[in-house]
């Protein structure tokens, strides 16, 4: 008998601070696997954002630059322009990317910066205790929408993967999930494709990953995992929204 499943080399052998059942852990592993597969670990510069994934440097065995909240795409732009031969990705939450970082993500995407963005959408601000995010579903109760998100006052959840797909510089934009083996395998495929596009210099690639936040959703890990299929996917459809090989 031999080992058929092992921890990716790019992922440090430590336990994380993530809550039980939090998909951040799964997504970390998928990203690390992709780094391994392309053999870019040694020339990768990860750009961390501010959110529950702020400890990126603690879990990935790669060089990391920390960004102010929301500014990872700008930081990554500086990094990639200074080191065009390095592999550069950002890892951002939905508060980080879809709220405070809106201008930075839109313009990095529009310039077609040759970077990959992993966008972890858990429909809330995890690290700060579960406030409403631009991605919070209508009716969803959070600590700052105690009566549920009100479409009339707060607007509808933003679909970033679709929005960014509109922009010229975007080579690839997709939305995936990791709540089931089936979705997880697709997620693997798309994350690797996004990475390949950067390796091949095709331009800006973007993968939105639907993620759970049991703690702030106030449900069990299993219930949170189930919510992805039951509530998130119906509004945030999985799929590839832009795939521009010859950008």
């Amino acid at each position: 008998m031999q080992q058929v499943f092992t921890r990716p080399r790019s992922l440090k052998d430590v336990s994380t601070h993530f809550c039980p059942g939090c998909h951040h852990g799964t997504i970390h592993r998928l990203v690390a696997e992709a780094l391994d597969q392309f053999g870019v670990q040694d020339r990768t510069i990860g750009v961390a954002s501010v959110g529950c994934s702020v400890f990126l440097y603690g879990y990935f065995d790669i060089d990391v630059v920390e960004s102010p909240h929301g500014r990872a795409p700008a930081v990554a732009t500086g990094v990639k322009r200074a080191r065009p031969d390095n592999f550069v990705f950002t890892y951002q939450g939905d508060g980080d990317l879809a709220a405070i970082g809106t201008a930075e993500i839109i313009h990095a995407a529009n310039r077609g910066e040759d970077i990959t963005v992993i966008f972890v959408n858990n429909t809330t601000y995890g690290m700060t205790g579960g406030q409403m995010a631009p991605t919070t579903l209508v009716g969803q109760k959070t600590s700052t929408s105690p009566y549920g998100r009100d479409k009339a006052k707060d607007g509808s959840p933003i679909r970033m993967a679709e929005l960014l797909a509109q922009l010229g510089g975007v080579a690839f934009s997709a939305r995936v999930a990791v709540d089931s083996p089936k979705h997880l395998m697709e997620a693997k495929k798309e994350i690797k494709r996004a990475f390949r596009y950067q390796v091949e210099g095709k331009g800006f690639s973007f993968v939105e990953v639907l993620s759970s936040c049991p703690t702030n959703w106030g449900v069990s890990p299993l219930a949170a995992n189930a919510r992805i299929q039951e509530e998130l996917i119906p509004y945030f459809p999985l799929g590839v929204f832009k795939n521009d090989e010859n950008l």
């Binding site: 008998m1 031999q2 080992q3 058929v4 499943f5 092992t6 921890r7 992922l11 336990s15 994380t16 993530f18 809550c19 039980p20 059942g21 939090c22 998909h23 951040h24 852990g25 799964t26 592993r29 990791v178 089931s180 083996p181 997880l184 395998m185 049991p214 069990s220 890990p221 299993l222 995992n225």
Partner: protein, 67 residues
Amino acid sequence: MGRIEIDELRCKGCGICTIACPKKLITLCDKVNHQGYTPAEAPCQELCTGCALCAEICPDVAITVFK
């Protein structure tokens, strides 16, 4: 023919592997461990195919699979 090992110290008892395993070989034990979690266990693994779905889905990379 497969076999899995669950790392007691990494497992946070989220239970996601228990629904991911097509053979339903994994369960959460009921005694709380030191971190206050009830880790997963797979007492009888005869039917384990080594498909590794449990390991793939585990957010904490707590499962190792052999085949």
